[in-house]
């Protein structure tokens, strides 16, 4: 039985898993794809055309670090030629001012720049790389060339105290939108979770601080704050629903409903090398698996909220409950919620041991750093 679906609106083009940074919060899978398996420029061009034919409006170039692709200009041109809006999600490395100009000339519509903190030391500890100064230079070039910019500050226990400094960086930039996004726990972030989750007190203070900032900057900069859903009452409607709003293509060409879907056992992902995007979207097993409501268990099955949050995240349900069809355990209505509470209790009871006054250090042995695949 084919479940009627809407068409995807966004294509997440994971161009490569190569990256000059080694962020401990990276949401890429633990198994990174090697350079030799990457899709070619021509492959991506075909994918962009198929996506546009399917109704996709926007291509989000991401990775790894998309700027490590030597053909990034051709990729931008290819996506624009296919009729897509092109958004680049990047660390800002490797980049100089003339390369940035070339990206814009090639048709780049929007630039999203990540930040790991307000200061070099913590940024270096979290990313395993000296990148902060470069990002500040990129901000200057973006301002000079009037490029549409969103800043993404990745927030966690070790840098949440630097919110005022991060906000100051945002305010002195030309960004019209700033996202302060608490880490979500997939991939490397899941492995490093216990070092990343903020305390309840930190979270409360941050919400208070950013709420005030939102009001003060209303009409000038859109300030958004994403809290870790472990602390929420209800889960997020992940990706806007499984196989609903977007599709992700991995560096080697596998089509996934989201960046974490590979953790779910028993799903076979089709490759753009073998099937058309339309076929994959409309009828492939992986995309069909969690569409509609037939797969839902109680309490989702009869819950009033099910069309609102869709039972939360399938990948998180697998990671925390061992069952991708279960209610997302962060939901207060999930019978597995006590598991999440136990994790939070550990984080919140450690007290002084979590004090961010601990000096940032590149040699902190507690982190699992994301390597650069060959």
């Amino acid at each position: 039985m084919t479940i009627a679906t809407s068409n995807p609106l966004a294509l997440i083009a994971e161009l490569t898993h190569r990256c000059p940074l080694h962020c401990v919060y990276c949401s890429n899978p633990l198994e990174l794809q090697a350079r030799a398996t990457e899709l070619s420029t021509e492959d991506w061009s075909r994918v962009f055309h198929e996506a546009a034919a399917l109704g996709v409006l926007q291509a989000d170039f991401t990775g790894g670090e998309p700027l490590t692709r030597p053909d990034i200009l051709e990729l931008i041109r290819g996506a624009r030629a296919a009729g897509l809006y092109v958004n680049l999600i990047t660390s800002g490395l490797p980049l100089d001012e003339s390369r940035l100009e070339a990206l814009v000339q090639a048709g780049l519509d929007h630039f999203q720049l990540s930040f790991q903190g307000a200061r070099e030391a913590i940024a270096q500890e979290i990313s395993g790389t000296k990148a902060h100064a470069q990002k500040l230079r990129v901000l200057e070039w973006l301002k000079r060339h009037h490029i549409a910019v969103t800043l993404n500050f990745v927030i966690h226990r070790r840098n949440i105290e630097q919110l005022p400094g991060m906000l100051a960086i945002a305010e002195s930039s030309s960004a019209s939108r700033v996202e302060f996004a608490n880490v979500q726990y997939y991939g490397w972030a899941f492995a490093n979770r216990d070092g990343l989750l903020p305390t309840r007190e930190q979270l409360t203070q941050s919400i208070d601080f950013l709420k005030k900032a939102q009001e003060r900057l209303a009409g000038k900069i859109r300030v958004e704050y994403v809290v870790p859903d472990y602390y929420a009452k209800y889960p997020k409607p992940c990706m806007g629903g499984w196989g609903c709003k977007l599709m992700l293509i991995t560096p080697s060409g596998d089509a996934l409903p989201c960046h974490a879907a590979r953790v779910i056992p028993g799903l076979t992902f089709e490759s753009v090398n073998n099937r058309s995007l339309r076929e994959i979207w409309e009828v492939s097993d992986a995309f069909q698996r969690f569409r509609g409501e037939a797969w839902m268990q109680e309490p989702c099955k009869t819950c009033d909220r099910r069309s609102k949050d869709l039972g939360g995240c399938r990948c998180q349900a697998f990671l925390l409950a061992g069952d991708a069809a279960a209610t997302d355990p962060v939901c207060s209505l999930s019978p597995q919620r006590p598991k999440v509470d136990a994790i939070l209790n550990t984080i919140n009871s450690l007290g002084a041991g979590l004090a961010p006054s601990v000096e940032p250090s590149l040699t902190n042995p507690d982190w699992l750093y994301r390597p650069n695949p060959s």
């Binding site: 609106l9 409006l57 926007q58 009729g83 809006y85 958004n87 519509d109 929007h110 009037h146 490029i147 549409a148 910019v149 969103t150 019209s176 939108r177 009409g219 859109r222």
Partner: protein
Amino acid sequence: MSVDLNSHPRLAPGCRMNEKTQQPRTLLMPERALRLNGPSLEIVERCDGQHTVQEIIAELQQLYAKADPAKVEQDILGYLALLQKERALDFVP
């Protein structure tokens, strides 16, 4: 924020229409997209930094000569305010 009739609305950085050959015509922005048809398309096409708000109103009143001019003006100002809220427009003096 009220709209200055003598200002020249222009699509903000990162905001553009899709190609003329693409259907449906759409206004693409970083966070969302807006379908454009009829009047909304006529308005956005004139947000080129060359037309004043007043000129856009006058041109559309001519284009939609059968409609009540006051309603046309009201609809245009309402739509420009919507685009302004989406931060899709810069108003150049």
